[in-house]
């Protein structure tokens, strides 16, 4: 059934002269989900979004909305609406006129427009702001009006182009929650692009990690975090300690890796990554997977000296230097406060299990988060 997907891309390619911005992307977004495309700037995510909205035509491939191809359909006739990066609220109109704009274009009668505008404003929590000028709104309010302006049209898909980028940190945190809630209530399919992994992880049902025009991995946030499939995803999503090394044996569950800087770690062998001895690999370990002076798993152990204590409440961590190799690592401090007394210069023992350790064939893409 085609129409269980609100939005589908089939082998979409976009080339600008010699440069391939979007390289053979296929995706299908189920009805009512919050879908994020996460990638560093320049990865082609904006181009992809603009193709969905109709501001750019794919070089090849097909885009389907509710099962029907929209190639050749101009942006003003596509059943998708977009929240622009800088919102693009019309400064020459007041709030109500902004929200009413699309309805007017459809020739809806005035009474209905007024009623729908009021409903929508109420839905985004700004019921009385109709007569206000755009310049009188705060950043978060503008955000909501930009969304209201699209929602009032009842789009099949709402496209959001990093709309939180311009907000300050506190407001951004707040808006993340609000957007997720809003999407949940109204049930419209959201396609959200961002370079901020926390936005993508917090809000989305599904996240596509995009790099150099291709999707590296598509999955639920937990999937991406705990089971990254490529070195890029492992490095880009969440914090990681990263080493370079060469495969030096192992069995069907484990890979032994000789690190470039010296020393050895044991990592999980992924079923789909057939690594041969002698192959160059990148190894990733999450800071929170490492136990300090701990018991439990001892697949990998090393001793290190604390260089810095980065206290940040629940997100506190240690910067340590491995005693033998001199490699720098970040280790999360347990939230229990058990290691509150650790200070710079202390020597500590670190250990973590092989299952928490990922390795991937070394790639050139150097992106790390």
């Amino acid at each position: 059934m085609a129409d269980q997907f609100d939005l589908e891309c089939r082998n979409v390619v976009k080339k600008f002269d010699d440069f391939t911005a979007v390289d053979d992307i296929s995706l299908a977004i189920p009805k009512g989900s919050f879908f994020s495309i996460l990638g560093p700037s320049g990865c082609g995510k904006t181009t992809l979004l603009r193709m969905l909205a109709g501001f750019q035509a794919p070089t090849s491939g097909d885009i389907l909305i509710k099962g029907a191809s929209v190639l050749g359909v101009p942006p003003n006739r596509r059943p998708v609406n977009m929240v622009f990066q800088h919102l693009a609220l019309f400064p020459m109109m007041n709030v109500a006129e902004n929200v009413a704009y699309g309805l007017k274009r459809r020739g809806v009668n005035k009474a209905t427009i007024a009623q729908k505008v009021n409903e929508t404003l109420a839905r985004v929590g700004l019921p009385d702001s109709g007569p206000k000028q755009i310049s009188q709104l705060s950043g978060g309010q503008k955000q909501r009006i930009a969304i209201a302006r699209c929602l009032v049209l009842d789009p099949a898909v709402l496209l959001l182009d990093e709309p939180l980028g311009a907000l300050d940190l506190k407001l951004r945190e707040h808006m993340k929650v609000e957007l997720k809630q809003l999407q949940h209530e109204i049930g419209t399919t959201f396609v959200y692009i961002t370079h901020d992994q926390s936005e993508a992880l917090v809000m989305s049902d599904q996240v596509a990690v995009m790099n150099a025009g291709r999707f590296e991995q598509v999955g639920a946030p937990q999937d991406l975090y705990y089971n990254p499939q490529t070195a890029f995803v492992a490095g880009f999503v969440g914090e990681s300690n990263r080493w370079h090394g060469v495969v030096g044996g192992g069995n069907e569950h484990q890979v032994e890796i000789n690190l470039a800087a010296g020393g050895k770690v044991v990592a999980k062998r992924d079923a789909n990554a057939a690594l041969k001895d002698g192959q160059a690999v990148d190894v990733f370990v999450r800071p929170e997977a490492i136990a300090i002076d701990g018991e439990g798993a001892v697949d990998n152990t090393l001793s290190a000296k604390v260089e810095n204590v980065l206290f940040n409440g629940a997100a506190s961590s240690l910067q340590v230097r491995e005693t033998t190799t001199g490699h720098e690592m970040t280790v999360a401090l347990p939230q229990t406060g058990a290691f509150a007394s650790v200070k710079a210069g202390d020597n500590i023992n670190l250990s973590w299990s092989f299952e928490q350790t990922r390795c991937f064939a070394a790639s050139d893409s150097g992106a790390t988060a």
């Binding site: 109709g54 942006p75 977009m82 693009a88 019309f90 109109m93 704009y101 274009r105 459809r106 699209c150």
Partner: protein, 293 residues
């Protein structure tokens, strides 16, 4: 003002301010304010005999009772408004093209190409139109050569030609403010308009034009003012029958040496231009310092 004022102390500062304001005050009062007051006073008097003057409204009465003056006045105003309108209509798509269709280097080149003709004296430009349009001119010859016309065609000395010249000569002052204001229109506003279901017409009407309003107002004001006060173009392209009000002022001042009546005419032209500029500002909801400043 900066911290300098408090550092230097009130007395020195006041002196410095006065020193700085001195040229400004001289300029504005001696060359702008007082001359125009004097112009008004001269227009309100009548010459009785050599060196003797009396307060009188005769110059204005003469203006209103003589149809030639009156008609020329109205004609100049109407044609100036029309020329301003034409300049806007012709220049807007060009400005839009430069601001929104061109990118990077091509944009600068095209913009410069628009500007450069206007660094050349208006006289030279008008001369060019004369060579093109006169009976023995380029266009007339071309028409004969291509068989459209049988004999020489005189295209000078009519209102349409005056209009062509006026629009040509003021184009710069329309395009510069329009390009700069359209340049500042974020592309995403236009895209948002389309995304929400607008089309070329509605987006232009609801988004582009309201945004461009300050530029339109300032372009129109300057163009209107320049057209109204133009002397060269109507005189050279329109010939004897051009009936432009500045020519009447010139005639009163230089040919007939009737300064009183000339001053009245000048003052009336000033009133006309201020009035129409004021109405234009009110209609477009702009202010003078915003539009020209």
């Amino acid at each position: 003002m900066s911290n300098g004022t408090s550092v230097k102390g009130g007395g020195t500062f006041c002196f410095g301010l006065l020193l700085l304001a001195f040229p400004l005050l001289l300029w504005l009062f001696l060359l702008v304010v007082l001359p125009h007051i004097d112009l008004f006073l001269v227009s309100m008097r009548e010459r009785i005999s050599y060196g003797k003057y009396e307060f009188s409204l005769i110059n204005y009465i003469e203006f209103f009772s003589e149809p030639l003056y009156w008609n020329t006045y109205v004609r100049t105003a109407v044609m100036s408004i029309f020329a301003t309108f034409l300049t806007l209509v012709i220049g807007f798509p060009v400005s839009y093209y430069i601001a929104k269709f061109m990118r990077g280097k091509g944009k600068n080149v095209l913009f410069l190409m628009c500007l450069i003709p206007f660094w050349v004296s208006e006289l030279v430009r008008t001369f060019g139109w004369m060579i093109l349009l006169r009976e023995s001119g380029v266009v007339s010859n071309f028409l004969q050569w291509s068989g459209i016309a049988d004999g020489p065609v005189e295209m000078l000395y009519n209102d349409a030609t005056i209009m062509v010249g006026l629009v040509y000569t003021s184009m710069l002052f329309m395009i510069v403010p329009l390009v700069s204001v359209l340049d500042s229109l974020d592309d995403s506003l236009i895209e948002a308009g389309y995304d929400l279901g607008g089309n070329g017409f509605t987006v232009t009407r609801d988004i582009v034009i309201p945004h461009a309003m300050p530029g339109i107002a300032s372009g129109c004001i300057v163009v209107f003012m320049l057209t109204l006060g133009n002397y060269l173009t109507p005189n050279l392209l329109g010939g004897k029958d051009s009936l432009w009000f500045t020519e009447q002022i010139y005639t009163q001042f230089i040919t007939r040496f009737n300064w009183e009546s000339g001053s009245a005419f000048g003052f009336l032209l000033l009133v006309l231009s201020s009035l129409i500029v004021w109405v234009g500002l009110k209609l477009s909801k702009q202010t003078l310092s915003e539009t020209v400043g």
